[in-house]
């Protein structure tokens, strides 16, 4: 495992930097919010991402993918994170995509994966029922009840489903009513009995509550069980950490710019030592986050990586980035002073996003606890 970019990775990173920068950074999210855009992200941009092959980065060529890995996808996610891009790239590729790729159902894989890579299918995973991530696997009251011929009927309710309204494919976690075994089920967005209610969250990224009121699925819609859910969540956690890394880097750079530019008492405020030391400490923590994220992505790409190794790598990346993102965003507002508190300034968007990121796949304390469990203490 080398923690440096290869030439190819550097090219992908450069393209990502250019693309997202061209799209206008936080201005785009602000405009989607202010216009009350119903989709909540840009379909044009989505097509462009597909055209660049980025939706296929972590998938093998045999399924129409680019044949690279989570490492490369994370480079794109990091740059997306810098601009707070609300496109459901992570949900589609690392939640839904991972469940399809690593799942047991060839039928579902060939039915969905090519469309997903081509940009025709927005995918997501509905796993959360409680306000806080609890057990591992997460507690699940949604039920899959046998309905003859291997088919099941899904009943239940899921919350905080990223792009839940927009998704063409909602993968749902449900417990088998008899075996009590957890299963992941591929539910088409237009399935009868699937009800989606948009949620307006502080980060203004698309999100929904999803109700399953008797969704009928055939046997081959089952992708796998608890282990598959764990893998998908861990890969998505690593992607989220990469996104957070980009976001906190951007917030930090905005702040550095302000420290250099804003003058008080006749000098730039960035010349005040107390602020310099705080900035230097943020920088150190940011560098440590970068190492953890790079290592986690490469761990996910290792062939036959064990669940425990992947879990520890993901939890390390998560615990560090969630905490650091919150701290960077918090300090960023403080160091911006009054203007940092205004809606007009971009920095507040980072603070709000940091809060959402911090409880998307479990908070930092959850990930630390899991690290200990995986290490046997």
């Amino acid at each position: 495992m080398k923690l440096a970019l290869t030439e190819d990775q550097r090219l992908i990173k450069d393209s990502a930097v250019t693309l997202w920068k061209d799209k206008g950074a936080v201005r785009r999210l602000r405009s989607l919010r202010d216009t009350g855009d119903a989709t909540g992200f840009s379909r044009e941009l989505w097509a462009e991402l597909a055209g660049l092959g980025w939706l296929g980065l972590p998938f093998p060529e045999e399924h129409g993918g680019v044949g690279l890995g989570v490492t490369e996808l994370c480079l794109v996610l990091e740059e997306a994170g810098r601009t707070l891009a609300p496109e459901p790239l992570l949900a589609t590729t690392l939640l839904a995509g991972s469940a399809l790729l690593l799942g047991d159902s060839d039928a579902a894989r060939s039915a969905w994966l090519p469309g997903l890579i081509a940009g025709d299918v927005v995918g997501t995973l509905a796993w959360q029922e409680r306000a806080r991530r609890d057990d591992d696997p997460p507690s699940c009251a949604a039920l899959a009840t046998p309905a003859g011929d291997g088919a099941v009927m899904l009943h239940g309710s899921k919350r905080e489903v990223v792009a839940g309204v927009q998704a063409d494919l909602v993968i749902v976690a449900a417990q088998h009513s008899e075996t009590r075994e957890l299963g992941l089920w591929a539910v088409p967005g237009d399935a009868a009995g699937l009800l989606r209610t948009p949620l307006s969250r502080i980060d203004h990224f698309p999100c929904a509550r999803v109700e399953l009121d008797g969704v009928r699925l055939s046997e081959d819609a089952r992708l796998g069980g608890a282990a598959l859910l764990a893998s998908a969540l861990d890969r998505a956690t690593i992607g989220l950490a990469a996104e957070a890394l980009g976001a906190m880097s951007a917030a930090f750079e905005l702040t550095l710019g302000w420290l250099r530019e804003r003058r008080q008492f006749g000098v730039p405020i960035g010349s005040f030592q107390a602020l310099q030391h705080r900035a230097a400490r943020l920088y150190i923590d940011l560098e440590l986050c970068r190492s953890a994220v790079m290592a986690a992505a490469r761990t996910a790409d290792q062939p036959r990586v064990s669940a425990a190794v992947l879990g520890q790598a993901a939890s390390l990346a998560a615990a560090r980035t969630l905490d650091t993102f919150l701290r960077v965003a918090d300090e960023a507002v403080q160091l911006h002073g009054g203007v940092g508190m205004t809606d007009e300034h971009d920095i507040g968007f980072y603070l709000k996003r940091a809060r959402v990121v911090a409880s998307t796949f479990g908070d930092a304390a959850w990930h630390r606890d899991r690290w200990a469990r995986l290490a046997g203490y």
Binding site: Q128, R130, A131, R132, R133, R159, E160, T197, P198, L199, S200, R201, I202, D203, H204, R209, R263, Q264, F265, G266, V267, I269, S271, F272, Q273, A274, L275, D330, V333, Q334, G337, G338, G340, M341, T342, D343, E344, G348, L351, K352, R355, V356, A358, S359, D363, A365
Partner: protein
């Protein structure tokens, strides 16, 4: 003492007879109440009656001298009055910056004419005041302010801008710092002046915050004539007046936070019990429990410090620089507590608006976002730490750094 007991009996009888029944048991708080002014926004007609009857006795400003409309009460008498009001859990008849900021400033620095002109309308809740200090280029470095006031006979012509003016869009008069001598060094050329916001050329624009609320405004001055007789504390002597008021403001802010943090432990516990649940009779998740205790202990230690400062002041023992300590600690405590609440709530703390979220949860999240500004407004934490280092600890000046 006998006099005080007589006074108490009299107050109690008067309140029992006249205090509107509908307001009893609704004490409100420092930010929610009757602000008065030319465009008053009484919550109920009883709030209006309550203000009128209290103002008539001067009990909206109980310790101000009677000749300026105040109650003329001694400190002891005022303590009696307040305890009787608490007994019925009545809301304050009037709140606002007139009573707590410009009023005391005029009593200390104002001329006899200024007191006679401005204090009685404050007592009666007829004029609502706001404070014009910060400017876009002058935040922590307040003395670099640029709003220009050029003498023109018995008037000054004001041009420039203020920012972070609380509730300017609902206020009638503004007290502000202006530069009356651009040639003098920083602090020396500043005056403290009162301006009627109805004067042509004054405009306000609310500032939307990250919480979605707009408690602050920008105030623009475009060739605004102000009267020379409305300069308080002498021409080019505004910095002295302003500093006195800032100290006063910090203490007030500290006390506000002392009151606002009360009950944090119960609130956090309630949230945690819902979001996490108990195990073996105790709140499960010992880490959350530990953080709730930390918050509760911080709160208790802070409250005790507020009390100690008050007790020491009464005993003639000043612990010094109390206002900066209260400002720094009280605001950070409030932030930590609100962050913790949102964190405990998990996904329930992520809602911005609309269906799918409990209104209390939405309010809690907005409160968290709003609290982020506490360590910035009213003198940043960094400025308070500078003050403590220099004026309390006696550390050498590093050139305002």
């Amino acid at each position: 003492m006998a006099d005080l007991e007589t006074f108490r009996a009299e107050v109690r009888a008067w309140l029992e007879e006249r205090a509107p029944a509908s307001l009893r048991g609704r004490p409100g708080d420092i930010f929610h109440g009757t602000w008065g002014g030319r465009r008053p926004d009484f919550e109920t007609p009883d709030h209006e009656r309550w203000l009128a009857m209290m103002a008539e006795r001067g009990w909206t400003a109980p310790t101000w001298p009677r000749e300026y409309g105040g109650g003329g009460l001694s400190r002891e008498q005022n303590a009696v009055l307040q305890s009787e009001l608490r007994r019925l859990r009545m809301p304050a008849p009037l709140i606002g910056f007139g009573l707590v900021m410009i009023g005391p400033t005029l009593l200390e620095f104002g001329s006899e004419e200024q007191k006679r002109e401005h204090l009685p309308p404050i007592v009666r809740g007829e004029i609502r005041w706001c404070q014009g200090y910060s400017e876009p280029g002058s935040g922590s470095d307040l003395a670099s302010l640029q709003l220009s006031a050029v003498a023109d006979g018995d008037r000054f012509i004001l041009n420039g801008q203020k920012i972070w003016t609380s509730y300017a869009d609902a206020s009638d008069w503004i007290f502000c710092l202006v530069r009356t001598d651009p040639g003098a060094k920083k602090q020396s050329g500043i005056s403290f002046i009162l301006v009627d916001m109805a004067t042509p050329g004054v405009t306000t624009r609310p500032i939307k915050l990250i919480s979605g609320a707009s408690p602050f405004c920008e105030v623009f001055f475009d060739d605004v004539p102000a009267l020379a007789r409305d300069v308080v504390g002498g021409l080019n002597n505004g910095w002295t007046v302003a500093k006195a008021l800032l100290r006063h403001e910090r203490t007030m802010v500290g006390e506000i936070f002392a009151r606002s943090v009360i009950g944090g432990e119960r609130e956090l516990l309630g949230l945690a019990r819902t979001a996490i649940g108990p195990a073996e009779g105790r709140l499960w998740d010992p880490l959350v429990r530990d953080r709730i205790v930390q918050s509760a202990m911080d709160e208790r230690a802070f409250m005790l410090t507020v009390q100690r400062i008050q007790d020491a002041a009464r005993a003639g023992q000043s612990p010094g620089a109390e206002s900066s300590i209260l400002k720094v600690y009280g605001t950070e405590l409030n932030q930590r507590r609100r962050e913790l609440a949102v964190e405990i709530a998990g996904a329930d703390g992520l809602g911005w608006e609309g269906a799918g979220y409990d209104p209390d949860a939405l309010a809690r999240t907005r409160d968290w976002l709003r609290s982020r500004g506490n360590t910035i407004e009213g003198g940043t934490t960094e400025i308070q730490l500078n003050i403590i280092a220099k004026h309390v600890l006696g550390l050498p000046d590093g050139g305002a750094r």
